[in-house]
């Protein structure tokens, strides 16, 4: 007699199940190999320090690396991203479209030969690097990121159209053309499916692309708000530069801001710290492993009155009274606003009125409008580029 209640359900077709099984075997092989110890060799750091073969130091290898293909980013490119961007494995991306403000839409090729989900397309290419295109992991990236890549091949017009069709299917539910249905992965019905674990890892792998896009959009928004031309692209720091930033930035991080009237009379206040550098340097520092909890933060008083922006209800308006800070911030100084609890960047502002007031120029209302919102949870990080 049956012990389980019968519930009407939908299951994968045999073809879909077979596809998942092939993917799962690959995943299991991947896990097994990742868990295997490295081959014993003189490549171990320990042996590298004790009697390893002498020779050229590793950084000299850079001399034999071909320059990036910077001059001709185009739709249809297949590009290999520099290990300065992602170093866990060689990541190839397909450049699918050009967007505004120097942004390009790219999708990475996957690490397996079998598509894992409906957003992954089996391309039909023989080369291992290009067998599955992951449209679910599509990113918009600034062109300067693609300037740190090598062009290795091109998509055909048909491949571009197929990629677009799969993306439209996963992003907007547009029906997938019949011939493509057999070439995409099977649907995922449970969060405990291995494929969810894989997708999260792949999404995390692409975090540098998302960060670069966010940084670019912040530049664009700031330029738009201040009614100035969108700034030219700055070359990004290279590996040695990032090491230098990581090593040296701590010394130039903060200087104490004393408080004339700290949180008097139960006034709401936020914390303020000074970062002696630009937003770019701050982000470089964070990207290089800098952690906000290493910042020395100084108690300072500020009044914050977040309220929805009348013109754009999703945005908000807020001001801080910075008049009590000493030394006083300078007119035009930028500041970044962090939520200390959520540990995330939630907006940015600019110092105005001769250094007396800090105004939020970009921030989402819902972030400030949490029921348990407290001004004390905010950290204003004043960025000072000058002396």
């Amino acid at each position: 007699m049956s012990k389980l209640p019968h519930i009407r359900s939908q299951s994968l077709s045999p073809e879909e199940t077979a596809r998942v099984q092939r993917w799962q075997r690959a995943w299991r092989m991947h896990l097994d190999l990742q868990g295997q110890a490295e081959e014993p060799s003189s490549a171990d750091p320990a042996s590298a320090q004790t009697g390893c073969p002498a020779g050229e130091p590793a950084f000299r290898l850079q001399e034999w690396v071909a320059p990036y293909d910077q001059d001709s980013v185009a739709v249809g490119d297949i590009r290999l991203l520099s290990p300065e961007i992602i170093d866990e494995r060689a990541v190839y991306v397909a450049v699918l479209a050009e967007a505004e403000w120097g942004m390009w839409l790219v999708a990475p090729y996957g690490n397996f030969s079998e598509p894992c989900a409906p957003g992954e397309l089996e391309t039909g290419r023989k080369e291992a690097a290009f067998q599955v295109l992951c449209l679910w992991n599509l990113h918009s990236v600034p062109v300067e990121l693609l300037h740190r890549s090598w062009k290795v091949d091109s998509l055909t017009e048909q491949e571009l159209q197929e990629a677009k069709a799969v993306f439209q299917n996963v992003a907007a539910g547009r029906p997938l053309p019949e011939p493509l249905r057999a070439r995409v992965g099977s649907p995922i019905f449970s969060q405990f499916d291995d494929r969810v674990v894989y997708q999260r890892e792949e999404a995390a792998l692409m975090a540098p692309l998302a960060r670069a896009a966010q940084r670019r959009m912040e530049e664009v928004q700031l330029a738009w708000i201040l009614d100035i031309p969108i700034p030219a692209h700055n070359p990004r720091p290279t590996g040695p530069e990032i090491s230098r930033i990581r090593d040296n930035m701590a010394r130039k991080l903060t200087e104490e801001l004393t408080l004339a009237a700290a949180a008097a009379g139960g006034q709401p206040y936020s914390h303020v710290a000074l970062f002696k550098g630009s937003l770019q340097e701050l982000e470089d520092w964070l990207a290089a492993g800098g952690a906000l909890n290493r910042l020395k933060v100084f108690t300072a008083s500020a009044i914050v009155e977040p309220q929805p922006d009348q013109a754009k209800p999703s945005k908000c308006f807020a001001q801080w009274d910075l008049g009590a800070l000493s030394p006083a911030p300078a007119e035009g100084d930028l500041f970044a606003v962090f939520d200390r609890k959520a540990k995330r960047f939630i907006g940015q502002g600019r110092v105005a009125q001769g250094g007396q007031v800090g105004s939020l120029i970009e921030g989402a209302w819902e972030l400030f409008n949490r029921p348990a919102f407290r001004c004390q949870d905010l950290l204003l990080l004043l960025l000072r580029c000058g002396p």
Partner: protein, 314 residues
């Protein structure tokens, strides 16, 4: 298998030429011995059928197995059908160049000496990771292309002696990998089976309560983190679990399979679709039970605590 030393000159020559076959004999021998041995070792530790295929291919081509091993590696690296430069090699060199944390123009001090990694060592280190992926992709291709012949066992062990013995102690065949009955390829589409659904939930809760004591603390942590949407590679999770990424991913994978297989055996006479729904429900209840075993400190470190008292700045 003994470690094979390579020289920087070998790698540079190989980078400048399309394939190792075009290199000087010394380079060819050194790189094939190194890379081919790495490939062979990974395959030996893994799947006998695929290793047999490689040995057969080598015999057919009248060459050494290490040559076939190297061929697998170069095939993996190849990006285009034409003879354009292989940019994956540039990636390898650029990645290896990061192993010495010194700026190219820095003057070396005695204190820097320990931070210098020789170029050929760095290249081999990077190549070791590439070898793993090349082996997997080769096996994926074989599994896809090779039909299962009638009655032939896919996991008949090979006789490997001495240096040829498996480095991992046991030979794991691809067929040993648990099959995909844990894909949970079923979803509940019934809007009105309230009674049946409640009964299913009760059963799942009972199963979860029976399974929960068998969970290790780390498994509880992985379950809860996964349920919270964290990647198994999340640095916060790795720090809290005190292990590498491969361990977290494999740990979660092993736990889910263990639960699913146990229930599949227990309810082997039932409709597989219903069993899959039970598996899914049981795992969801296990998350709730596991969460009770995670200390507030760990939850705070993972950012899983709700809003509350927090006097620390971060």
């Amino acid at each position: 298998m003994a470690f094979v030393e390579t020289k920087l000159e070998h790698w540079i020559e190989w980078k400048q030429k399309c394939a190792v076959d075009l290199c000087l004999e010394e380079t060819r021998n050194a790189l094939m011995a190194y890379g081919g041995a790495q490939i062979l070792n990974r395959l030996k530790g893994w799947d006998s059928r695929i290793l047999q295929d490689l040995l057969d291919q080598a015999a057919k081509n009248a060459c050494l197995p290490i040559r076939e091993g190297w061929r697998i590696l170069e095939t993996f690296l190849h990006e285009t059908p034409n003879k354009s430069p292989i940019r994956h090699k540039d990636w390898l060199f650029a990645q290896a160049s990061k192993f010495s944390h010194l700026e190219p123009d820095s003057s070396l001090t005695a204190a820097d000496a320990n931070r210098i990694v020789p170029a050929q060592v760095a290249l081999q280190k990077v190549m070791a990771g590439v070898v793993k992926t090349a082996v997997r992709r080769h096996c994926e291709r074989l599994l896809k292309e090779l039909p299962k012949t009638n009655g032939e066992s896919l996991d008949a062990p090979l006789s490997l002696d001495g240096d040829e013995a498996c480095t991992r102690g046991t030979v794991m065949a691809i067929e040993d990998f648990p099959d995909a009955d844990a894909v949970m390829g079923t979803k509940d589409v019934s809007p009105d089976d309230a009674a049946a659904r409640a009964e299913m939930r009760n059963l799942a809760l009972a199963e979860a309560k029976a399974l929960e004591p068998g969970l290790s603390d780390r498994e509880c942590l992985l379950l809860v983190a996964h349920d919270a949407g964290m990647a198994m590679s999340d640095p916060l999770l790795l720090e809290a679990a005190g292990v590498k990424k491969s361990v977290t991913s494999a740990g979660l994978n092993g736990l889910v399979r263990r639960v699913c297989q146990k229930l599949a055996q227990q309810y082997s006479q039932e409709d597989p679709a219903d069993v899959r729904l039970l598996q899914k429900n049981t795992l969801e209840y296990l998350v709730q039970l596991a969460e009770q075993r995670i200390s507030p400190e760990i939850k705070a470190r993972l950012g899983l605590l709700p809003e509350g008292k927090d006097d620390e700045l971060f």
